[in-house]
Symmetry: C2
Subunit: 293 residues, 2 copies
């Protein structure tokens, strides 16, 4: 079975649209997501454009604030403070990566936790780990929603997560191991220091590849009948394509897919679900803020 | 090898004493730890007494605030607020468990993160997970110190943690999997919903038992040459003892110990290290607060 992120995202997009229409009817305004972008880079442009497009489709208001690559940390903190205190903006994201003269940790911690719809603030990470209401990082939360959509049970399953990044691997392992549904899985987290990565991966009932290494996961990493979630997305040269490149994931799809009970394609798997999760977080932020007032 | 928590704790206690004497010389005051205790229960009395005793030994000032079992949540929050704003107190703990009419989450989140020397506040958990400076929960932090004392390397090792409690299993898995030393281990976290717990435990280079089930880990759970850390401590009836009971851990020590490269005894293993970790957190809190003023 192919875990089609576009189909699942369309489904959630429709139900979100209905909720947003109801929100607008009650509150006489739309949920409002803002994105801050520093400098210009190809992938960031693509991601932000897709997020803004999703806002439009679902019925959110959206705003994009662009800053020069040369903006200082203090200036950026000032811009964040404006959004923190602007009641018309319910949630916002600072598109990563940032230029090296800016401390990512400092920026992330300056975002008001109630508006941190990317779920990157340590208090959201900590609450999520503890199973409390919190914004969960969009990519792993999108994967949770994808598993739910396809009725893939995680309780008691052995999940092996490849990669411990703060925005994917780490929160993914927390979401799947906590006492929740989906969740309640036995989770092994592997990373660059893991010695016997293949021996561990092959035990997985559900394998999540989030290392950022193109086609790292070959068929000998995968147990017959496993579920494989491919978070990676890399451009590799391909002369046969008009663009000169093609997109590949962390999984050698052609050889792995035949062994799997289910697998996400790249593109069209995890990507669309990441955006849906961000939209869901934003609607939740808007609801929380309206209910508080 | 027996990982003797008393010996290691004595070692760290002596070096902490020296640091505390220096702190007092510079600041003309002692680091000050307070404990809040609601109601009376045997184990809590024992734990708090041991913490107060350690303060005395190392040269901290300590204060114990006792409240009736009937104290309301609001009243307890008021007491916490007093300690949050009292500059003479550098760190404090709320001894758990609390009576059922009080929300533990609400109490934990009301403690000022800078004084949360138990490391239970979600922002401390989140920062610790991200590898940022933070107070780490005392029991897992004590285990990290014990591994360090005995030069047990964790990098690239497969650690299996049995139990996902918010104060032991969860933070233990985070501390050991993050990019740090000790740390950089491949971590599998098991819990009540894990199906094949024995098959996973037996793969462990380092096995951490924190389920709270007396003698759950039998010799068939343990790989020859593994390191076993026993966090459990339960009273079981024993007619041959004057007290009528004996203390046992989560590990069937008699049968497991011969297979191990190293193992912690119960009592005298993890327990003394938990207290040392709390003392270290308190000294760090005091230093941070004095440096800020």
């Amino acid at each position: 079975m192919i875990l089609d992120g576009k189909i699942a995202a369309n489904f959630f997009s429709e139900s979100l649209s209905k909720e947003v229409a109801e929100f607008e009817r009650v509150h006489k305004l739309k949920p409002h997501l803002a994105a801050l972008m520093v400098g210009k880079s190809g992938p960031s442009e693509t991601y932000v454009a897709a997020k803004m497009e999703a806002c439009k489709k679902i019925g959110f208001q959206s705003s994009l604030f662009r800053f020069e690559e040369s903006i200082s940390e203090e200036e950026l903190l000032g811009e964040i403070e404006k959004l923190n205190s602007d009641p018309s903006i319910h949630g916002f994201i600072v598109q990563l990566p940032l230029p090296s003269h800016i401390s990512v940790d400092r920026i992330i911690e300056s975002v008001k936790p109630e508006k941190d719809v990317d779920g990157f603030h340590p208090i959201n990470l900590g609450k999520m780990a503890k199973g409390q209401p919190a914004f969960a990082s969009a990519t792993p939360w999108g994967i949770i929603k994808l598993l739910k959509y396809y009725n893939i049970d995680t309780e008691g399953k052995h999940v092996v997560v490849l990669g411990r990044s703060q925005i994917v691997g780490l929160p993914m392992s927390l979401l799947l191991s906590r006492n929740s549904n989906p969740g309640n899985a036995t989770v092994t987290i592997c990373h660059s220091k893991t010695k016997n990565i293949k021996d561990l991966a092959i035990q997985a009932d559900i394998l999540v590849a989030a290392l950022g290494i193109p086609e790292f996961v070959t068929s000998d990493f995968v147990k017959q009948g496993a579920v494989v979630i491919d978070v990676g997305i890399s451009r590799i040269k391909d002369e046969t394509k008009k663009s000169g490149f093609r997109l590949v994931g962390d999984v050698d799809y052609m050889n792995v897919a035949p062994k799997c009970a289910a697998i996400t394609p790249v593109p069209g798997g995890v990507g669309p679900m990441t955006i849906i999760a961000l939209m869901e977080n934003t609607l939740m932020a808007a609801k929380n803020q309206m209910n508080r007032n």
